[in-house]
Symmetry: C2
Subunit: 342 residues, 2 copies
């Protein structure tokens, strides 16, 4: 199964609709959004930027096919989910003070905080607009599911922010946060095409279950890449999540494990929380923390968790009928999510 | 006609539903939102704050009655519009750097920029959630209208920000911006109850027209209060809009008028745009600018514009049938909007 072709198909179907949607924005928001999506550079010249992996559009299109509809039926859903995803990136990058995304300066860094807020708001509104202007009962149901996912996304960001200021976060709290922040919208991507295609609630809920656990697998891998990922591939700084004091899965799992490395890690992170020069810590200091996380078992536990969630996601698909080819494609995308390097 | 009673009825019907909606937010967003609405103070103690004039809830409830439905039918719409309005206040105060609203420190000032962004996002999502969970065709139509209004609101804020950096803005550009920023959501408030009550598109569009022009009248009065309002009543600093270099109606009308005062004002504002110590200008310096605006006719033109929009709003109501009492109440609210002091 060629995952690259699957991702490419989702991107090819969704991009023209996404571009047309962005064209609706009043200046300068259209330009700022085009920069964010990598279509132009900071000076406004055309660019062939990396618009992300496009996992969500591929899933939304497959979701329509899982319900027996044509892939095109999923496209407004694919674009709406992509808009909500990018709304959250614009706002989260500003809230988190992240200066880089997809190998480029973030929007607030280039165009200022006000544009990051405003264009994020506009993308969120546009997502609802695209769905609701379909004017169908199915579109109303899809919008309702997208709204629930967006609320969960916002809850997750609130938890993520509050955890950064807390000394201890349990593994359960971390999984809940990641389920909100990543699972809910991926769940929506996996059901929205089916909902637009007229699927019943059982089918939609099952596809959401697949997507939710796929999202948790995705996030577990993201958490591994956030510490041990290759900066060349991820586009983030080395030890990115450690620099931000993120209580990600490897960290909370290592802290929960007990034993000498776990305890030493706990002491170090407690000191770090008070350190005034944390911003200037050397590569070696972050490497030492990463090594302790690994020795305490946080890296291996997270890798296993990714595989557990991957299995749960795929098993969920057994409870609904769908074309064999579509099932194989959903499995292939799940496989891709856990082995990706970026 | 007792406008105070009308406003109070809207508030009484909407507030319990609004409070229940805010209770759905995950901590600490519920607390931050409760602070914004004036229900608690910065320390979290119960407060009896000024939650605003509540013009929108009163209009949404009347809107249901204009379509022959019970006032209660308009309540989810009233609350949804209030949530979108407050989403925009949270984000706009942060973008504009406004430190005071309703006589209190703004949310970003008390709880930080991240919470202002996040809680704004949450209120926006909640607005859609409240409507869509009604699960009716009417609710889908209402959400679509609310989404259009929200998009216009965001366009208006984009224009408002860009105008602050421009030397000249035409009266037409200013009216377009104010139509987006204030007219569209007030238009939605005036139609949403009717839409939820099953009104046809002609009725809804007519009520939107009434609301749109009412919004422009409202904003013209706001622009007058933003320069000449009593700080005790408005809760803003003296010469508030001049301090922010707002290209509001009195300013653009004065600049467009021609003549010695208009030209002198243009020269002064051009110098101000480059002044590095603008933040420290004295009361007298702002008073001198306000006097020039008045001498050039900007104050009188804006007051007349408020009356023109008021008349257009009321005349729009002639094209649809509605109970006499409801019509009289809509007229009374329009009258209130143009004579208010805050």
């Amino acid at each position: 199964m060629d995952v690259t072709a699957l991702l490419e198909r989702g991107r090819t179907l969704a991009t023209p609709v996404l571009r047309a949607a962005i064209d609706r924005l009043a200046p300068p928001m259209d330009t700022v959004a085009a920069y964010h999506f990598g279509w132009i550079d900071a000076e406004g010249n055309p660019a062939d930027g990396d618009g992300g992996k496009a996992v969500r559009p591929a899933l939304a299109v497959l979701s329509a096919q899982a319900a027996g509809a044509a892939p095109e039926v999923g496209v407004p859903g694919a674009v709406a989910v992509e808009l909500v995803h990018n709304f959250s990136l614009l706002h989260d990058d500003l809230m988190d003070g992240d200066e880089q995304r997809r190998h480029r300066d973030t929007v607030w860094k280039v165009h200022g905080p006000a544009q990051a807020i405003l264009v994020g708001d506009a993308l969120f509104a546009l997502a609802n607009e695209l769905l609701l202007e379909l004017g169908t009962v199915e579109a109303g149901r899809a919008t309702r599911r997208l709204t629930s996912a967006t609320r969960a996304l916002i809850d997750g960001q609130a938890q993520d922010i509050s955890y950064e200021h807390r000394e201890r976060v349990t593994v359960e709290e971390c999984l809940e946060m990641e389920g909100n922040k990543t699972g809910a919208l991926l769940a929506c991507a996996c059901s929205i095409g089916a909902v637009l295609g007229g699927a019943d609630d059982h089918t939609a809920d099952t596809l959401e279950k697949y997507g939710y656990h796929l999202g948790l697998a995705f996030q577990a891998v993201d958490d591994l890449l956030g510490i041990w990922g290759d900066p060349e591939a991820t586009g983030k700084r080395p030890w990115s999540d450690l620099r931000q004091r993120k209580k990600s899965l490897p960290v909370v799992a290592a802290l929960a494990a007990g034993g000498p490395s776990s305890e030493r890690l706990g002491e170090l992170l407690a000191e770090d929380a008070k350190a005034s020069d944390f911003e200037n810590f050397s590569e070696e200091e972050f490497a030492a923390r990463a090594a302790l996380i690994e020795e305490a078992g946080g890296r291996e536990w997270t890798a296993q968790e990714a595989r557990r969630q991957h299995t749960t996601a795929i098993d969920a698909l057994d409870s609904i009928p769908m074309p064999d080819r579509v099932r194989a494609e959903l499995v292939a995308l799940a496989d891709f999510v856990v082995v990706r390097k970026r």
